[in-house]
């Protein structure tokens, strides 16, 4: 017991001695003696957080002069970055004469069953409403959800998944 007490006191003294040493001032007021501060650091890809337009905005899988609208994960709201595409699509639709515009909602591969098709539908409906708000007659537009069935990209990458979360527009034939 006595030996144990002596050991404990010795250990405490050693620890105190260590703490009393002056840390090198390498980072202003910060104490850099904490080893955790020098552990592994992360490296992030800013693109993974997306931007207003979305990485997918560089792409287009629509036809007949329309431009695809891209969405965030599990989202069916139209981002600010997509507004110019909505305006452009409204112009194309108004110049389409008597042709109907088919608006196709699509999802990435992470949903299952009926729910994913309903999500694709919400995206198609959001685009239809946004274009209608630009003065396009709703009778000219028909919406269809393809769920996860119609991917344009098959690679297991974030950018690829984003390209699949989209609404395509084309003239109905």
């Amino acid at each position: 017991m006595q030996k144990l007490m002596i050991s404990a006191v010795a250990a405490s003294l050693l620890a105190l001695t260590g703490c009393s040493q002056t840390a090198p001032d390498m980072a202003g007021k910060n104490n850099v003696s904490d080893a955790n501060q020098f552990g592994d650091t992360v490296s992030i890809d800013e693109n993974k957080y997306g931007n207003e337009a979305g990485a997918g905005s560089r792409f287009n899988s629509s036809s007949d002069g329309f431009q695809s609208i891209y969405f965030g994960f599990g989202d069916y709201g139209i981002s600010g970055g997509m507004e110019s595409r909505i305006n452009s699509n409204a112009g194309v639709a108004n110049n389409a004469g008597g042709s109907q515009v088919k608006i196709e909602g699509n999802c990435d591969e992470f949903g299952t069953d009926e729910y994913n098709y309903a999500l694709g539908l919400k995206r198609a409906k959001a685009v239809k409403d946004a274009i209608a708000a630009q003065g396009v007659n709703t009778d000219k537009m028909v919406i269809v959800s393809f769920g996860e069935s119609n991917p344009v990209c098959h690679e297991p990458t974030d950018e690829c998944y984003e390209r699949n979360r989209r609404v395509d527009l084309r003239l109905a034939r």
Partner: protein, 417 residues
């Protein structure tokens, strides 16, 4: 050191006794209730694949402890080896697939070698041989007085993606050893049996401008257009009599659940929520339905009477419960239990009741989705995804026996049986 080892041993014993009792008792009880059986192949050319199918049938029933050895011996003889005499029953059979599939079966009592069952089976199409095995085992099971397992004789119906915007619909036996593409060309989704006898099924075709629901007779090939809807269209459930359907439709761009009267062609809108309502399944003697909705901001399971607007939350567990099935008052649902935006996620299956009580997990690891009850509610079928691919899984709810059969080829879109 000795004291430390003794302490660890004592700790192990205490933990084993306190926490291991229930599991041990349960296993012993299950083992006692199952009959020990062996299969003896008397075929001219023994067939390992057919033996495996018979083994699967015995195992998934939950009523037998089947010997894993592929015994081979004379079919007609009643003499049994000392090893086989320790079994309660010995199933002797001969199988051939020349000029159609033929199966002769005899069941002997292991202790006495006396014959207690005998039957011959034949099908002109040799590729349907798995159904001979299923029929023989379900007949033997009935003859022994065990609860019915005739669900193993039923067709599985599933759709799978082939390329972008293309799919095919297949018929299969429950082990997937028999498979036949029944619809190919274009995008055809969500197959659902139209009647209990599995003579016809509903499916959604994307051939036209808007999704259209068709009914196909699998024997005559006659196809009948049922209804079309802008947006999406899914036949989620069929009433027992086959005269009412629960459809997810979006005639105004809004996914809602409708009840469709097959005789009159009239439809009644059941849900009116301005979000996502899908996956309606009849419960409570078909007076109510359970369904998936995001009305609380995430996918979850709810119940609504078909005759009123009152909605009840059924599941109070998980934050993403996006698929369910129902049988009587039983409900099975899949719950996403990890939050990786991309990549692998854990999805587990849970069993509960239409009132939300008696919830218990059916799976504890992996990605388990598309739960579907057998017609008698005794077994849950599901799709399990793992690093090596996908499998069709079965969980016997009474015996807790489970089986997995690998799915080769493309991603499964939807499944029914």
């Amino acid at each position: 050191m000795k004291h430390f080892v003794a302490f660890l041993l004592m700790l192990h014993l205490i933990i084993s006794n306190v926490f291991g009792v229930d599991a041990t008792l349960k296993i012993e009880k299950d083992v006692e209730q199952r009959a020990r059986v062996a299969l003896v192949d008397g075929s001219t050319v023994p067939n390992d694949k057919f033996f495996d199918i018979l083994q699967s049938d015995l195992k998934v029933s939950g009523h037998y402890l089947a010997d894993a050895t592929h015994h081979q011996d004379d079919f007609a003889s009643n003499a049994l080896s000392p090893e086989l005499r320790t079994k309660e029953y010995v199933i002797k059979y001969t199988f051939s697939s020349e000029n159609g599939a033929k199966l002769f079966v005899r069941v002997l009592k292991g202790s006495e070698g006396t014959e207690v069952f005998k039957k011959n089976y034949a099908l002109p199409a040799a590729e349907k041989a798995p159904f001979l095995a299923h029929k023989a085992i379900s007949d033997i099971n009935n003859a022994m007085g065990y609860p019915d397992i005739s669900w193993i004789n039923r067709y599985i119906l599933f759709s799978r993606y082939t390329t972008a915007a293309h799919s095919e619909i297949l018929l299969a036996d429950y082990t997937l050893n028999y498979q036949k593409v029944i619809i190919r060309g274009g995008l055809n989704l969500f197959p659902k049996w139209a009647d209990e006898n599995q003579r016809s099924f509903y499916y959604t075709s994307y051939a036209g401008l808007t999704p259209t629901l068709y009914k196909l007779d699998i024997y005559s090939g006659s196809r009948q257009k049922i209804v079309s809807s802008e947006g999406m269209l899914v036949c989620s459930d069929v009433s027992k009599s086959g005269d009412r359907l629960l459809l997810t439709m979006a005639p105004n761009g809004q996914a809602d659940i409708y009840e469709y009267n097959v005789g009159s062609g009239s439809k009644t809108r059941i849900t009116t929520f301005n979000g996502i309502d899908v996956n309606g399944k009849y419960v409570d003697d078909e007076n109510s339905m359970v369904f998936v909705s995001n009305r609380l901001g995430y996918a979850n399971i709810f119940k609504q009477s078909l005759h009123s607007q009152a909605v009840m939350q059924v599941v109070y567990h998980g934050r993403n419960n996006n698929a369910c099935d129902a049988n009587g008052n039983q409900i099975v649902y899949s719950s996403r239990e990890s939050s990786n935006t991309f990549g692998k996620n854990t999805f587990n299956l849970y069993l509960t009741s239409s009132s939300g009580s008696d919830t218990r997990p059916l799976t504890t690891t992996g990605t388990n989705q598309f739960p579907r009850f057998s017609p008698d509610g005794s077994v849950v079928m599901y799709i399990k995804h793992s690093g090596g691919g996908s499998s069709l899984g079965y969980i016997n709810l009474e015996s807790h026996q489970s089986l997995l059969f690998p799915i080769r080829g493309s991603k499964v879109q939807s499944i029914d049986w």
